[in-house]
């Protein structure tokens, strides 16, 4: 048995004449989908596996499929003769395009065997001459395979050797997914040994020193490990000292390291290659010349063996000196290494003569956290889930580390400016001295493909939620033109479903069906909250404008369920400044240690948002009805008086007239006049989140207690939410709640919302409905028309299906919760926005708007 190593991420090119047994070999050693056979693709495109005229089309299709597989990081085997250099060249290029390793496996079988095998197959008419030609081409190629770019070549000579071969799949050197941390990633040290010692101390490591008191290792009592992000050397005062310490830590298993561009150059210098001795390399070489040759040899060995990037913690963390875009992570190719060492360079240089590096992180959308250094910046900051930890220690900045997974930055200041920077630190961005190109990207800018097209949002509460492409397209206009700025749009509330229709006579909705729905979910404790006669409103109140990318003094946003602001800027500010004081009086700021608060609420009166609709739609219909119906009754009465048989019609018309009056009463309750903020009230019912914390997991009693404290502080501005808790296992409790609803609605109230007391929770099958609204019979006249309770109408209206609405409510809820969770976890804007946008997109799904 010959064990042949095979890198996990590779394109395996089988090479062998027709009849050498490639397909059989592939079937023995690889999975059914792993092998792409040219014969098979010829069949796909021409119906004939042996149609040589179909070869170009077959290879085009094969390359396409191979490309998709390699994109997905799947090992792929090409089963074709591949005896000609040009056919192999294109496959090597394919491997490089996808940054995987090209591997050649040669099946070198005697000609006679090939001829014999071909003869035994009736679908092949190859003569011996074809095999001979292939055999010759193969043998001419053998010596050059390495030069052609194959990173591994296995030549199996003869039938026996082929039979004895076995592959062993090996992870790439950068594949360290099994290393789970915790880690402390440290930015560019550049020979600043003293600062490094202090930083390690601050991080909790204990230094180990040799006889000469030189640090040679550092150990963390909790077993944490350091990750050095490259550029240990050059420019600073003691590069050898840094190397000694880091090499010791790595050797002892107390640290991992990736190389920087300065290590790469040092390797070449130490190897005696001709390099430009600039950017501080001279200092390092001078310092190293005082060391022993053995030490220099160890340094060379250490730096040469460093792997350009590492994938850690089950793929959740990637480290590379200059960072790494998503498609290069876990891959191996020359350009992956170059990116990891030098970043996204264009070959151009800026006015300081330094290479121009594109800010790849601004476009980063990968799931893995990327930690890197390379570009000195003033502060270590998150950009789309990536962080640059080079804070220019050697230039007099500081030496920074990030605790992972805690994501906490720890830094120590430089002791002095060890090396004058060529260009001022932190000159990227709006700094006047920077180049125009540096200022052209804005990391907060969202990309159109963050939201358009089919999107799948992974949610904590409900798994993957798909957003249909059409729905996303429909939402783009509202989001772009009417909604609050995405940086300040953290949450959109879900739609809410009514209960199944009631079977009780003369009524469409009743609490019993809502209670039943929760009982079926295995939920016994629900809370009924008064449904305020207003509009759903999300209120963001902040004392920290910068958290939302807003100018100093900005207090927050008040928007509708589709993200539209309720008020103009000045009114918003007035409203929020009052709310800020109320929250102060209520002690909310201090209780939560919050710098901002996010409320889900109802804003009253409804006419504030829907005034035009009430006047033009509802009042107009009532005006026509309350005028025409009595007129019709009068004419009918005259006819009845002279004996015409229209008594039934008269009775019906009079009933309709009375329905019209009740309908008018119903909308009038929503039409309190408002001038400015006078008469405007907020009824908060959930405190969704505050800085650093989502409160969605807390029960409704907690939320309502906070809302009550606000109402206590200012009863004019804040409206209390009346409620009653229900134990669904107790009939008495349920009856009490039903009576409460009846009282509420007969007094003109809109109805109530039934919610699980515990808030966000799972039912027996899935996530439980966040709330079910039970609307009062009079309110429903505005929705279903004045005469909806007439038996003939009601019978038809009972035919409504809430299933789709329920399913939408759950998905929207999951997306809304996800957006809040992502925001409080300080995830990149695009991740928050994707979830918020999803809620809006779902709203463009056609659902009966009366539900």
């Amino acid at each position: 048995m010959t064990r042949l190593p095979l890198p996990d991420m590779s394109l395996v090119v089988l090479v062998g004449a027709s009849g050498s047994g490639k397909s059989t070999f592939a079937a023995q050693h690889f999975g059914p989908f792993e092998t792409l056979s040219s014969d098979f693709f010829r069949g796909m495109v021409s119906n004939d596996e042996n149609d040589q005229a179909a070869t170009p089309a077959a290879f085009e299709a094969l390359r396409f499929v191979a490309g998709k597989r390699l994109d997905a990081g799947l090992l792929t085997v090409i089963d074709a003769t591949n005896v000609q250099p040009e056919s192999r060249r294109s496959l090597v290029a394919l491997a490089r395009e996808h940054d995987v390793l090209p591997v050649a496996v040669v099946l070198d079988v005697p000609q006679s065997v090939c001829v014999e095998r071909n003869a035994a197959r009736d679908d092949r008419s190859f003569g011996a001459s074809v095999v001979k030609r292939q055999y010759d081409q193969l043998h001419r190629s053998l010596r050059h395979l390495g030069k052609e770019g194959f990173r591994r070549v296995h030549v199996l000579s003869g039938v026996d050797e082929i039979a004895a071969a076995e592959f062993v799949r090996e992870p790439l050197l950068n594949d360290r997914r099994a290393e789970m941390g915790p880690f402390d990633a440290i930015g560019d040290v550049h020979g600043c040994r003293s600062e490094l010692e202090v930083l390690l101390g601050k991080l909790g490591y204990e230094l180990v020193r040799d006889d000469e008191e030189r640090p040679v290792d550092a150990v963390h009592p909790q077993g944490r490990r350091a990750i050095f992000l490259g550029d240990l050397v050059d420019r600073g005062p003691d590069s050898p000292g840094v190397l000694r310490l880091v090499m010791g830590m790595v050797a002892a298993g107390h640290a991992l390291a990736v190389p920087g561009n300065h290590e790469a150059k040092l390797v070449r210098a130490l190897e005696g290659k001709k390099v430009q001795v600039s950017h501080g390399l001279a200092e390092t070489l001078a310092q190293l010349s005082d060391e022993t040759p053995e030490f220099r040899k160890q340094v060379l060995q250490f730096c040469r063996d460093l792997v350009s990037h590492l994938v850690l913690d089950d793929g959740r963390l990637v480290v590379a000196h200059a960072g790494l875009i998503e498609k290069y992570q876990g891959r191996a190719s020359g350009r992956v290494r170059a990116f990891a060492l030098f970043g996204d360079t264009t070959g151009e240089t800026d006015e300081y003569g330094l290479p121009i590096r594109l800010p790849w992180a601004d476009d980063y959308r990968g799931a893995a956290t990327v930690l890197y250094g390379h570009v000195p910046t003033l502060e270590a900051e998150w950009v789309n889930g990536t962080m640059c930890l080079d804070t220019g220690c050697v230039f007099g900045g500081k030496l920074s580390a990030l605790r992972y997974p805690e994501k906490e930055v720890v830094d120590v200041p430089a002791e002095k400016v060890w090396y004058e920077p060529t260009k001022p630190l932190g000159s990227r961005g709006a700094n006047g001295g920077s180049s125009a190109r540096d200022a052209t990207r804005d990391p907060a800018l969202l990309r159109i493909d963050d939201v358009l097209g089919k999107q799948v949002v992974e949610t904590r509460a409900f798994g993957n939620v798909g957003i249909r492409e059409d729905n996303a397209a429909g939402a783009l206009e509202v989001m772009s033109r009417f909604a609050t700025d995405p940086r300040r749009l953290v949450y959109l509330p879900p739609t809410m479903s009514p209960p199944q229709v009631s079977k009780r006579e003369g009524i469409l909705e009743h609490p019993a069906e809502a209670f039943d729905a929760y009982r079926r979910e295995g939920i016994d404790h629900v809370i009924c909250e008064e449904k305020h006669m207003g509009s759903r409103a999300v209120v963001l109140l902040t004392r920290d404008a910068s958290r939302f990318g807003a100018p100093e003094g900005w207090r927050g946003a008040v928007h509708t369920r589709t993200g539209r602001p309720f008020f103009d800027e000045a009114t918003t500010d007035e409203f929020l400044s009052r709310l800020d004081r109320v929250a102060e009086t209520a002690g909310l700021w201090s209780e939560l240690g919050a710098s901002w608060l996010l409320f889900d609420a109802e804003l009253l009166p409804w006419s504030l948002k829907a005034g035009a609709m009430i006047r033009e739609q509802y009042a107009g219909v009532a005006a026509a009805a309350t005028s025409a119906l009595p007129a019709a009754s009068r004419v009918l009465q005259t006819a009845v008086a002279r004996g015409v048989d229209v008594a039934d019609l008269l009775a019906r018309t009079e009933r309709r007239a009375s329905n019209a009056d009740r309908y008018r009463d119903a909308y009038r309750r929503y039409s309190q006049p408002v001038s400015g903020l006078d008469g405007v009230q907020l009824a908060p019912f959930q405190l969704l989140a505050s800085e650093g914390t989502s409160h969605l997991g807390k029960d409704h009693a907690w939320h309502l207690a906070r809302a009550d404290s606000l109402a206590d502080a200012d009863g004019d501005l804040i409206r209390r939410t009346r409620r009653i808790e229900v134990d669904l296992s107790s009939p008495g409790s349920e009856t009490a709640a039903t009576s409460w609803w009846e009282e509420l609605t007969s007094a003109g109230g809109e109805g109530m919302v039934v919610k699980p007391v515990a808030g966000l929770m799972r039912g027996t099958r899935s996530l439980a409905q966040p709330g079910i609204k039970v609307r009062g019979p009079e309110y429903l006249r505005i929705i279903y028309g004045p005469d909806y309770l007439d038996p003939a109408n009601l019978a038809r209206l009972r035919n409504r299906d809430v299933g789709h609405k329920r399913s939408m409510a759950l998905r929207e809820y999951a997306l809304g919760v996800e957006a809040v969770e992502r925001f409080v976890a300080d995830e990149p804007l695009w991740r928050v926005h994707q979830a918020v946008f999803g809620v809006l997109a779902m709203e463009s799904e056609p659902v009966d708007p009366r539900l």
């Binding site: 052209t440 990309r447 159109i448 025409a628």
Partner: protein, 473 residues
């Protein structure tokens, strides 16, 4: 929902013969628009009144596919004025229930049918849209010989500040042939209604012709009557198109062609601005020798059409935020039937100016024609980053209303904008402050131009900024 016709002619009860409805019986007719009831509240030789009451089933209305309107109006549909108003549906019912009388032929009473009768007609709750503009109801009925009495119905007596509703109780008096009277109502009720009509037949032109015989050709408001009457047909045929029109590229106040003296057509404007604006943009594009161009916020493709016509533009991208508008642009440019070469040259994409879109990167020029004023000021930074930062074309052409010039629009109250969706209308100084800042931050130079007539003090109605990428240091 209710129409009464009273005759005070000698032997008034003969009215029932003309109408061919028995005076002592109540009759019911099941029609596509609902159930019509015909009965006589008053019958004597001096005075005879017939009443038609139409019961419309609001729920049937929603569920009947013949009446299906748009989704946007869905909420409105159960709550609908059709069951109460004397709308175009009442006109349809009149035409069906009194077809013979409307034709004006009567075998037994030919003279009576041909004679003008002293009639009084009442119509309850007539939706009279546009009533408040220059006495429309009177203008429609008076030329036909009617004395018109209209009583507006207040929107809600409890909220007098809301004013009157669109509904009026209508009384018409005159010496008119019965068949003419019915045909007047048949045509003019839908004309007054002027919205949300649900047609049941395709042959509306023919119907209008027949019903208008003898009076419509000489009516001073003939054009308005015809236009409004037939406008319904379009809304029936293509309710979906109507919905789309709501978000079509927003028509600017200054582009509106004056409309029967009733609209905001009081503007005195020599030529609509839109074509002048397009020409100004084109000449700016030619000045910077642009070959690859994106019209961002392209709307229905008015500018794209001009770009396509000019062979010097070799790559043309139209982008808009609204998929329905793009579909219209696609139709307007007839891209589905275009040659491969044209399709390669012209591309329509859905995009938004506040998002980075790599499909728009690296072009010679990007046009933002009447776009920025539809973007909230707080989002302009994102627009700047997306257009000038990420897409970074060689040139950017921006046009926007000149707020200074608004003083010259008589119909425009101070402090209001030319379009309800405008988030701002910048003065020349405000526009320059923004554009100069963008140019400085993003490495462009900027040149300002005028579009339209120039007022010595207030400038031109539209202002244009032409940004050119600064050549490298």
């Amino acid at each position: 929902m209710l129409v009464t016709v009273t005759s005070t002619a000698p032997t008034a009860s003969n009215l029932s013969h003309l109408l061919r409805k028995h005076p002592d019986r109540a009759q019911e007719f099941s029609l596509s628009v609902g159930t019509a009831h015909v009965f006589y509240p008053e019958v004597s030789d001096e005075r005879c009144t017939v009443a038609m009451l139409l019961e419309v089933d609001p729920i049937g209305l929603v569920r009947d596919k013949n009446f299906k309107g748009s989704d946007a109006a869905a909420l409105a549909r159960y709550v609908n004025d059709r069951p109460y108003a004397s709308s175009s549906m009442v006109a349809v019912a009149l035409g069906q229930v009194f077809r013979t009388a409307m034709n004006g032929t009567s075998e037994s009473f030919p003279e009576l049918a041909a004679a003008a009768l002293p009639l009084e007609i009442t119509v309850a709750a007539v939706p009279a849209r546009g009533r408040d503009t220059a006495g429309l109801v009177t203008r429609l009925f008076e030329p036909l010989g009617w004395v018109v009495e209209e009583t507006p119905i207040p929107l809600d007596p409890e909220f007098p500040e809301w004013g009157d509703s669109v509904y009026v109780d209508l009384v018409l008096r005159g010496e008119i042939r019965l068949s003419d009277a019915l045909r007047h109502l048949y045509v003019l009720l839908p004309v007054l209604d002027d919205s949300k009509h649900y047609w049941v037949s395709d042959d509306e032109v023919g119907k209008l012709h027949r019903a208008g015989q003898g009076w419509l050709p000489d009516h001073p408001e003939r054009e308005l009557i015809t236009r409004r009457y037939l406008a319904h047909q379009r809304s029936m045929v293509d309710a979906a198109t109507d919905l789309l029109a709501a978000d079509a590229r927003l028509t600017e106040l200054d582009d509106i062609v004056p409309d029967d003296g009733a609209g905001p057509g009081a503007l005195t404007r020599p030529a609509p601005l839109a074509p002048q604006r397009a020409e100004a943009v084109l000449s700016a594009l030619r000045d910077v020798s642009a070959h690859s161009v994106a019209d961002v916020g392209c709307g229905e493709g008015a500018l794209l059409k001009r770009l396509v016509a000019d062979p010097s533009f070799t790559k043309i991208i139209g982008s808009d935020v609204s998929p329905s508008v793009l579909a219209k642009a696609d139709r307007a440019l007839n891209l589905r039937e275009a040659s491969d070469r044209l399709r390669e040259r012209v591309q329509l994409v859905q995009s938004s100016v506040t998002y980075q879109d790599d499909r728009l990167a690296g072009l010679d020029a990007i046009v933002l024609m009447e776009v920025i004023e539809h973007v909230d000021p707080e989002r302009l930074a994102a627009l700047e980053a997306s257009v000038f930062g990420a897409a970074a074309p060689g040139a950017v052409v921006v046009t926007t209303p000149n707020g200074d010039y608004n003083a010259l629009f008589e119909s425009l109250a101070a402090g209001t904008f030319r379009h309800a969706d405008h988030r701002f209308e910048w003065s020349r100084a405000e526009f320059a402050a923004w554009a100069d800042g963008v140019a400085l931050r993003r490495g462009y130079t900027v040149e300002y131009r005028t579009i339209g007539d120039i007022d010595a003090d207030l400038g031109s109605p539209t202002q244009l900024a032409l940004f050119r990428k600064a050549t490298d240091r």
